[in-house]
C-alpha cells in the first residue's frame, strides 16, 4: 500500500496549481481520496478533532442498503423470464441469478459510466470536487427501470437526470429534484413504450407461453376496475398480498420486493442515514389515502383494501430510497412529516384516479420535491415568529 501511496503522491504535483494537468485536479483528487483517506488535519482555529464520518461513507451506506434489492432483482429478472417462457424453476436457482445478472449488471454499469462521465466533465469545467452523491444515483436508476430497457436509454436518462436534475442547479447539495426520479420521469415521458405496458419481463427473444401478459399488479388492478370486477380476485394468486410483499412479480428491477426494500429501510434507519419519519409517513399517507378511497368506494379500484397499496408497484422503494434523499426532501423535522404524508397520499391518488399513469410514486416524489422548500419555509417562518414574539424592539 505504501508503494501505491507513494506512486500517487509522485503524480500529485502535476495536478496541483501550476502543474501540467492542473485542470484535472478534482479528477485526481477523487481517485486519490477514493484510494486513501486524506492526510488533512484540522485548522489552527476551530474544532481540532473531527467525526469519523465523511460524505463517501454516508453515501455508501445507502448503496449498501440497496444491495439486497439489487440481488433480489437479479433473481427475479431470471425468475420472471423462466416463468414467462415456461421453464420455471425454484426462485433461488443459479439459472435465475445468472440470467438476471446478464441483463441487470450492464444497466448498472452503463448508469455509473454515463453519470460518472458527466460528473467528471462538470468537476473539471466548474472546478468543484466530484461529489459522492452519484454513488447512490448510479445505483438507484437501474433499480427503477425494467430489465428490458435499451442500454442507450439508460445512458441518456442518466445524463439527463444528472444534467437537468442536478448540475444546472449547481451540483450535489443544491438540486431541487431527486436525480434518479428525474431520470425515470424523462424515460417515462420520452420513451413511454419502453417503460410501460408489457415491458417488465425480459424474454430474451424467446416466445412466452400462452396466456402470458407480463402486466404488473397495478395494471391488472386498474384494468379490472374499469371492467367493473373485484380487484382482489382479479389480482388472483399471482398478485396475492404475500406474493406482492415478497416481490416475485413483474416490475422494475429493484422495486418489486417490499420485504427487501424494508431490509434496506432497516439499514437506513439503524445507521441514521435515512429519515424514519419520511419512511413511516409515506407509508402512513398511502394507507390513509387508501382508506379514504375505501370509504368513498366509487369504483372497484377504490374498494381495494388499503394495505395492498403499500406492497404494489414502487411505493415501498420510493418511500425508502427516493423520498428520503436528504437533499431534495424537506429539511426540517416537522416538514419531513408533512412531506412524507403528502407523498404517500399523492401516490395513491395518482394511481387510483389518474387514468394515464398506473404508478404514482414517481410523480408524487417529484411534485413534493418541488414543494419541500415551501414546507420548510413555513416551518422556519414559525421559528422566526417565535423569536420575534419574544423581542421587545
Amino acid at each position: 500500500m505504501k508503494f501505491l501511496h507513494n506512486l500517487l503522491e509522485k503524480q500529485k504535483p502535476m495536478f496541483e496549481k501550476g502543474g501540467k494537468l492542473e485542470k484535472f485536479y478534482y479528477l485526481f483528487e477523487a481517485g486519490e481520496t477514493f484510494m486513501f483517506s486524506p492526510a488533512s488535519t484540522a485548522k489552527n482555529k476551530g474544532v481540532q478533532v473531527r467525526d469519523a464520518i465523511d460524505l463517501k461513507r454516508m453515501m455508501m451506506t445507502v448503496v449498501i442498503a440497496m444491495i439486497p434489492c439489487l440481488i433480489f432483482g437479479m433473481f427475479n429478472t431470471g425468475y420472471q423470464h423462466h416463468v414467462a417462457v415456461g421453464e420455471a424453476t425454484s426462485f433461488l436457482s443459479l439459472d435465475n441469478l445468472l440470467f438476471g445478472a446478464r441483463w441487470v449488471l450492464p444497466i448498472v454499469l452503463v448508469s455509473y459510466a454515463a453519470g460518472g462521465i458527466i460528473e467528471a466533465i462538470f468537476a473539471v469545467v466548474r472546478k468543484h470536487p466530484i461529489n459522492e452523491g452519484f454513488l447512490v444515483t448510479g445505483m438507484l436508476i437501474p433499480l427503477i427501470v425494467p430489465a428490458t430497457i435499451p442500454l442507450w436509454q439508460v445512458a441518456l436518462a442518466t445524463v439527463f437526470g444528472v444534467l437537468v436534475g442536478k448540475e444546472i442547479f449547481g451540483g450535489t447539495g443544491m438540486n431541487i429534484l431527486n436525480v434518479a426520479m428525474t431520470s425515470r420521469a424523462f424515460l417515462y415521458f420520452a420513451y413511454p413504450s419502453q417503460i410501460s405496458g408489457a415491458v417488465w419481463t425480459q424474454l430474451a427473444d424467446k416466445t412466452p407461453v400462452d396466456g402470458f401478459t407480463g402486466a404488473t399488479a397495478l395494471a391488472v388492478a386498474y384494468d379490472s376496475s374499469t371492467a367493473g370486477g373485484d380487484v382482489v380476485s382479479a389480482l388472483g394468486d399471482t398478485f396475492s398480498f404475500s406474493n406482492l410483499f415478497m416481490g416475485m412479480v413483474p416490475g422494475s428491477i429493484g422495486e418489486t420486493s417490499t420485504l427487501w426494500v424494508l431490509v434496506g429501510a432497516l439499514i437506513l434507519i439503524a445507521t441514521g442515514v435515512g429519515s424514519w419519519k419520511i419512511i413511516v409517513s409515506v407509508f402512513g399517507g398511502a394507507f390513509i389515502m387508501g382508506t379514504i378511497f375505501n370509504a368513498a368506494g366509487i369504483n372497484p379500484f377504490m374498494d381495494m383494501p388499503a394495505h395492498y397499496h403499500l406492497v404494489m408497484g414502487g411505493l415501498a422503494f420510493g418511500a425508502v430510497f427516493m423520498a428520503t434523499d436528504p437533499v431534495s426532501a424537506a429539511h426540517t423535522e416537522t416538514g419531513k412529516w408533512i412531506y412524507g404524508i403528502l407523498i404517500g397520499m399523492l401516490s395513491v391518488l395518482i394511481r387510483v384516479v389518474n387514468p394515464a399513469y398506473p404508478e404514482g410514486i414517481m410523480l408524487a416524489v417529484l411534485l413534493m420535491n418541488v414543494f419541500a422548500p415551501l414546507i420548510d419555509f413555513y416551518v422556519i417562518q414559525a421559528n422566526k415568529k417565535r423569536r420575534l414574539a419574544r423581542a421587545t424592539v
Binding site: 484510494m35 492526510a39 488535519t41 484540522a42 476551530g46 478533532v49 465523511d54 461529489n131 429539511h331 420575534l388
Partner: protein, 455 residues
Amino acid sequence: MSKIIKLKKGFDINLAGKAAHQIADSIHPETFAIKPTDFIGMKRPKLLVNEGDNIKAGTPILFDKMQENVMYCSPVSGEIVEVKRGAKRKILEVKILADKTIEYESFQSYSPSDITGLSREDAQAQMMKSGVWPNIIQRPFGIVANENDSPKAIHISAFDTHPLAADVAFTLQGEEDAFKTGINVLKKFTDGKIHLNHNLNAEVSKVFANVEGIEHNKFSGPHPAGNVGVQIHHLDPVNKGDIVWTLTPYGVAQIGKLFSQGKYDASRLVAVCGSEVKTPQYYKTYSGGAINKLVDGNIKQDHVRYISGNVLTGEKIEKDGYLSFYANSITVIPEGDHTEFLGWIMPKKNVLSFHRAWGLFSFMNGKNKEYVLDSNTNGEDRAFVQTGTFEKVTPMDVYPTFLLKAILSEDFDNVEALGIYEVIEEDLALCEFVDVSKHDVQHMVREGIELIQNG
C-alpha cells in the same frame, strides 16, 4: 424562580487523558504573553509599553482603539522582552519575561461592607484599568462587554461540558470568598438577574453553594448543556436589541480578588490533559503562560498537536506557544496527518462518530469508552448536504443549517431572524465536529456575527 432544565440533544466527546484531581508541584513558566488575537472583536490594538520596559502584574500593556478605557494588563511582573508582529505589523504576541516573585500594581481594596456601598462608576473604573474587564463577555456577538451597557441579565455557567474540560469547581477551590465578592460587584451592573447555572447531575460545589441574591439554575444533558449560550437560550433568550453579559466563574473570582485584595491576580489552575500526556493533572500558573515547561517530559511521543483550550473550540499552538487568555486547559492529542487505505469505507470501532453510518461502530462501545482522537479531518471538503445531524446536536430552538446558509448568502434579514443573536462559535462547535462535508462552521458563525455587527 430558579429553574431546572433537562436537555436531550447534544453529544459528549469522551476523550482519554482526563486531568486527575491533583495539582503538580509548582513549575513556573519563564515567559508569558498577551495575544490580542485572543480577544475576538478587538479591532485596533494599541501598545502602551515598549520592549525593555519593566512592568508589574496589572500594568496596562495594550488597549483597543475602539474601546479606549478597557485595559489589557500584564498577568505577571517582569520585563517586556519581545513584541511579535505578523503581516501588516499586526501585533501577535507581547512577551513578558517574568520575575521570580511577582509584584503587583496596587488598586483600591474594599471590605465586604464597603463593597455594598460602592457605586457602579467606581467599580467600573477599577475593573477597566486593572485588566479584569475582558472577563465580561457580551451577548450577542461574544465580544468584550461595552462599559456603557446595562445588561438585562448576567449569566455564569458553573460547569463545563467540553471534552476533557477542566473541573470548574476544582480550579476554584478555596476561592469561595473571592467568588462571592465578585458576584456582589457584578450586581451593581444589572437591574436584572444574575444566573448561576449548575450541573443537575453533580453536587453543587461549596464555591457556588452559598452565594445569595442570585438565581441558581440546574441543567442536565450532554454537551453543550454547559455552554452559557445554550443556558441563556433556555432561561432568558437574547432578542434583538437585548444585551446580556456572561462570565466564567474564574472571571468572577478574579474580579472578587481585585476588590478584596486590591490586585490583578491572574494566577489560575490549568488542566494539562489529552491522550498524549503522561500524567494529566492540574498546574498552577498564570494567564498567558508559556506551555513548554508544563509539557516538557510529560508527553508520550513527538508527533502531537498542542491545543490551548479544548478540542472543540481551542486553538492549535506550538510547543513554545502560550496559553490563551480565556483557556483553562492545554490539550495534547496526536497529530493526524496520515492517510489510510480505503479509509472511507473500512469498518472502525475506535474512532468516535456521532453517526452510525456503515462501518462506524463506535456507538456499540457504550458511553464510558474513552477515545484517542487525532487531528485528522477524516474526510475531505464537500458540498453542503443536509443530514439533520446539526439539529440533533444543537439543544436550542434554532435551525443551524438554515442559519448557516443565510450567512453564506449574506442574507441579513434571515441571519437576524434565524437567531444569530443567540449563538457564538462554541454553541455550534459540535455541528462542525459532526459535519459530513467538513465545513468550518465556527468560522461561518463568526462571519455571520460580523455581517450583523458591520451591517
